[in-house]
Symmetry: C2
């Protein structure tokens, strides 16, 4: 086994995915991977939180068709240019060639907006807030990587329509709150960066990228939030009648995050023993290992089963590992799988009315009282969540390095002065093989010079190598 | 409005789907409909029960890629022949033509089985029991109909591998139990009919069709269960090593049901006022209508809100309709939407410490005590479920008519003697424009003659016109 996260992140990542059996990449199409049961349970737990947050903020779940007629797809000009080289085309059905080719959804603006133009009639229909959780398809030509760069991508996309630009802006702010609630559960920190004009979503007014620092210093985009103004409403003719009988175009936003959240969790939290899962999404939150020795097998097993039932009845996701294996080998397996909390129960524990615990995140150990185990486990899981989140934030905050020259650029997230011109931005990217991540959504005070042209500027930008 | 279920089922059905806003068929590809929020909530509730039943019987949820290389798709000869004329083909990606064309999944045997051949090694890996809930695609050339005949179909498919044919047969029996539990919640009755050799699933050893009678006398296939023996294991090379070190092919089964369950629920339970939803899947299980009159508005609204909160806290899906509309117009809307139970609360109810209720299924009315409303609502919802189910079964049982000649065939489910020969079967179908549904899975005693050749037979078969 390699398992050297710090020295070879890329190999470590691939090995973790395989050994913990999160995904099977041996499917006969490169970049289209099989979600195996353990990986799919993690993703489904994430989806559950997404649904909870979106439902709570008045979004309705829908499901739009996968296929989009080329005629609809081409209505917004920047959009089609942005996706031209990376969509899959259905050209035949049965034995016939189709009159109009169909795009396999790369994202659903062009599927949804012709319907929105039928659904929205009056200002009383607004805001319209919907979302769907589906798979989306991109013909990825770069090297693929499980959860991070794949050709079939599991994701959610929310789409909203509003009467004014200001209302749409308030939606963007609500999306940040949803994001914050989600990330607390997944223990993933993030930066909010307004993408450059040449990197924003095709058709958007502006795009905020959500980036998480990976251990190799690269930034991983885990999602994005877009304000469209009326850029799609005009070509798709989405209008409403206001209170005065006047017809106006709606203002739109979207918000999306993908299975990269799984990739981010692996990268941010994993270690050389394997996965480390946040309690909220772990398929097994706590595993019970009976410590047997001669003469006490039945008594210990009975107590272990009772503990399992007590915890399960309290709504915890618990597993009793009753395999005929050494405890050490079981510890190894469950550490690899990232189970947040291990409980060990042996004869001495039972005599003392306690259970021994070991936390996966920091390795700390102790005992809890057997008679109020569910509450104690809940408290520990809460502490694990908080500690994982704050530790991850500390790393994220420390990941950016401010640079004032392009000599000896470190392989980290970079912070530097930028005059804001496309010319300087492109030159910075091309000369240094870097990607501009954009400018901070929440303004940062800065007083310096553009790293390219040397002009005085109060604008700061971020960049990194891509994953 | 038409709304005449008995006299024009087909128009009635289309109107219900549109008026209750279950699905929007104005999407620019015929037969690919948009799941609107209300319809999707119903489908998601059905999915929840499917997951519960499959998880409880040791099936693991997975998610396989949508696209299948033509090379894999063609490995089982009957299978490709069966699907040749009804699959969508991806031929291009970005600006390139693909070397190997990709099929958009019509069902997932040919996506899953190459992976099964990697996953199954030893008899200790068996049984392998997995399922997925995804959308599937058929290029339907007949007239489309929401939920019943569409081109993008939401469905679940479970796939299992076993050491012996007998183990696989036991899985089929377990599938019948799962089916029975599901149908109890959806209140949908069904027949189990072994499909004819020429109508079984392409590649199957045998297929059991699950059919529900529609009000127009036609039978709607809502799902199927297949025993494959080793028919797929051989071409896909799925083998295991038994305890003696010998390599053997696995025996396989599959079980699937689709969004036709929604269509069946509409058809079986709906009436001229609209939908009638089983409590288990209704997005709103009970709606509260405040009955206001001058001077008591605040007091009634306060009590109505308290009732809503009490019911919601007890885990019921409840809605308080506080729109500024007449109660009669609200009744109308919620009847159309099929909400199982209506609660009316006015000043007189409050004074008597009761709530007035009206059941959607049979129109019966009464009062329940306000102080134990959650329990009382639960009891009524349970009674609604039981009554809907048993009433539906009574209709299903009465739907078949035994015929002894092909003169004046009624537009119903038909029961008749059949010698079992393909020749007589085909002749019966072709001469009478009927579809053979097959022979009963649970044998029925019969002593008569083949309806075509007149030979003495103890075999009975069923047929009907198709939906």
């Amino acid at each position: 086994m390699i398992m050297r996260k710090e020295t070879d992140f890329s190999e470590w990542y691939n090995e973790i995915v395989e050994k913990a059996n999160l995904s099977d990449k041996r499917y006969p199409i490169k970049g289209m991977n099989v979600w195996t049961p353990y990986g799919w349970k993690i993703m489904s737990n994430i989806d559950r939180f997404i649904r909870k947050e979106l439902d709570a903020t008045g979004h309705d779940e829908v499901c739009f068709p996968l296929l989009i007629p080329e005629t609809e797809f081409k209505k917004e000009k920047d959009h089609i240019k942005g996706f031209d080289s990376e969509v899959y085309w259905v050209t035949h059905a049965g034995l016939n060639e189709l009159d109009v080719r169909l795009v396999v959804r790369p994202t659903s603006e062009t599927a949804m907006y012709p319907m929105f133009s039928l659904w929205v009639r009056s200002h009383t229909d607004l805001p319209l807030k919907i979302y769907q959780i589906v798979n989306t398809f991109r013909y990825e030509t770069k090297q693929t990587r499980s959860f991070i760069r794949v050709r079939e991508i599991h994701f959610f996309e929310s789409h909203t329509c509003h009467v004014t630009e200001e209302d749409a802006q308030r939606q963007v702010e609500e999306d940040f709150e949803i994001l914050s609630n989600l990330m607390k559960e997944l223990c993933i920190p993030y930066s909010l960066l307004v993408r450059t004009e040449w990197d924003k979503f095709p058709g958007a007014y502006y795009t905020v990228g959500l980036d998480t620092a990976m251990p190799n210093g690269r930034m991983l985009q885990i999602g994005s939030i877009h304000h469209y103004r009326t850029n799609f409403a005009v070509p798709y003719n989405i209008t409403y009648e206001d209170a005065d009988g006047e017809h106006k175009h709606v203002h739109q936003t979207t918000y999306g995050m993908s299975e990269r959240l799984v990739g981010a969790m692996i990268g941010v939290h994993g270690d050389d023993k394997g996965l480390v899962l946040p309690p909220a999404v772990a398929p097994v939150q706590t595993v019970i290992i009976p410590i047997l020795s001669k003469g006490n097998t039945d008594a210990v097993m009975k107590e272990a089963e009772r503990l399992r039932d007590t915890l399960a009845n309290a709504g915890l996701r618990v597993k009793l590992d009753d395999r005929d294996e050494r405890p050490g080998s079981k510890f190894f397996d469950w550490e690899l799988k990232g189970v947040p909390l291990r409980l060990e129960i042996g004869m001495r524990d039972i005599e003392n009315n306690v259970v021994t615990f070991a936390r996966r995140d920091d390795g700390s150990k102790g005992t809890i009282s057997l008679h109020d185990a569910p509450d104690a486990v809940r408290v520990i899981l809460g502490a694990i969540r908080n500690d994982m989140y704050s530790k991850a934030w500390d790393k994220q905050k420390g990941c950016a390095e401010t640079i004032t020259s392009t000599d000896n650029i470190p392989d980290k997230m970079l912070r530097f002065g930028w005059c804001g011109s496309e010319e300087c931005g492109h030159r910075f990217e091309d000369d240094n093989d870097l990607k501009m991540l954009g400018t901070p959504y929440i303004p940062e005070e800065f007083d310096g010079t553009c790293i390219i042209c040397g002009k005085r500027t109060d604008k700061v930008a971020y960049a990194s190598r891509s994953m």
